[in-house]
């Protein structure tokens, strides 16, 4: 076999070493878990997750508003991004023509330098 | 069955003319398809010419000709269509002896019995290799494909809102 070390130009990375470390850490975690209190009664309210007193959530967190903070912070950028992403075919062709013009200009200038 | 066909569609003169015309149109379409590599045309154009016959029959005999055998004929038409296109597929593999699409029939005199030197000639069929065979396969597929399209357009428009002019012509006659 050609060995398992991925030698990149600036160093190397050994996946098997990483796996070995991962398994060792899993073993340690399992040991810590197994030393826990074993005489609890399964299936009673003892096994329910503790929501600091109030009722457990009925529905999941709606997936769309998990990162609302991020959208607030980048507000102006997202406003511009939403405006740029119209679903209209004409704007698709317009951006393609713009790309073509930019590449043509860059290549001709590049060619002269 | 006989009486039902005769009362719809255009006048009997037109029906007779369409029946007579069908033969020359078919031969011309077959000619265009077969001589694809010599004269302009080829499989697609020849098939389209032959497909006009179905359109002519539909116009002359009215739509009810189709209504009677509605769904049964379509599946058989589709099988003929796919037979045609599959022969085209097989023809790609035929010349596997040398390489794909190798024109090993050209001027080998086997199929068209004429060996033709390279250069201008008075239009022998042999110069085409397997192209005439491919044109025939594509022609068959296009004939059935286009006539299916015409039939489906007419049949489906019946449920649609437009009233086909052919219908009114027939009724006024009785």
């Amino acid at each position: 076999m050609t060995g398992f070390v991925l030698t990149t130009a600036a160093g190397h990375w050994d996946p098997l070493l990483w796996l070995a470390a991962f398994i060792i850490i899993l073993a340690i975690v399992y040991i810590i878990r197994s030393r826990g209190y074993k005489k609890y009664k399964r299936g009673t309210e003892q096994t329910l997750p503790f929501f600091s007193g109030n009722l457990p959530p009925v529905a999941n967190i709606r997936s769309s508003n998990m990162y609302w903070g991020f959208f607030e912070a980048m507000g102006r950028y997202y406003k511009w991004l939403r405006r740029a992403h119209t679903g209209v075919v004409n704007d698709y062709v317009y951006s393609f023509v713009m790309l073509l013009v930019v590449i043509l200009a860059a290549m001709t200038l590049g060619g002269l330098l | 069955m006989k009486r039902k066909i005769h009362d719809t569609g255009l006048s009997p003169i037109v029906k007779m003319a369409v029946c007579i015309l069908a033969v020359p149109v078919a031969t011309f379409g077959f000619y265009v398809a077969l001589h694809g590599h010599l004269t302009p045309g080829g499989g697609f154009a020849g098939g389209a010419v032959i497909a006009t016959i179905t359109a002519m029959f539909l116009v002359a005999f009215g739509r009810d000709v189709i209504k009677s055998q509605h769904s049964k004929s379509f599946s058989s038409l589709r099988t003929i269509k796919s037979i045609g296109i599959t022969t085209f597929g097989i023809l790609i593999f035929i010349s596997l002896s040398a390489t794909f699409l190798h024109q090993y029939l050209t001027s080998s005199g086997w199929f068209f019995r004429v060996t033709v030197p390279f250069g201008p000639n008075p239009g022998y069929l042999g110069t085409g290799g397997i192209i005439p065979l491919m044109n025939l396969a594509v022609g068959l597929e296009v004939v059935v494909g286009l006539s299916l399209a015409v039939i489906l357009l007419l049949v489906s428009s019946k449920e649609g809102h437009t009233e086909a002019p052919v219908e009114k012509m027939g009724r006024r006659e009785e």
Binding site: G87, V88, N90, V93, Y94, V97 | T39, N121, G123
Partner: protein
């Protein structure tokens, strides 16, 4: 002086592109694609032009100086492909009209 077919090609292609960018109606966009396609085909044909030559068909050819057959073969294929593309786009436009009730490119349901 650039010979006239190449100028016609530039006009056709630019016309097609500009119609696609500015026209709102879906059918007009399909027509613009077809116009651009024929512009590119004209360009391919005019590449193979030789002064004073006949069509490259061997059947009792009057003389041996013939126009280049290869661009004409390319154009044939490109025309057939153009038909298929335009036919497909017209069926989509018809079905969009059936579902949306309008052919305006701005009325769309697929948002950003």
């Amino acid at each position: 002086m650039i010979s006239t077919p190449f100028m016609a090609v530039v006009v056709l292609v630019l016309f097609g592109l500009s119609a696609m960018v500015f026209k709102r109606n879906l059918i007009k966009i399909v027509m613009a694609v077809h116009v651009m396609g024929s512009g590119v085909n004209l360009f391919l044909i005019s590449l193979g032009y030789r002064a004073g030559s006949t069509a490259p068909i061997f059947t009792n050819a009057p003389k041996l100086e013939m126009a280049l057959p290869v661009p004409q073969a390319l154009t044939l294929t490109s025309i057939v492909i153009n038909i298929a593309v335009v036919a497909l786009m017209l069926t989509f436009a018809a079905l969009i009209y059936e579902h949306y009730g309008t052919l305006d490119a701005r009325k769309r349901r697929l948002l950003e």
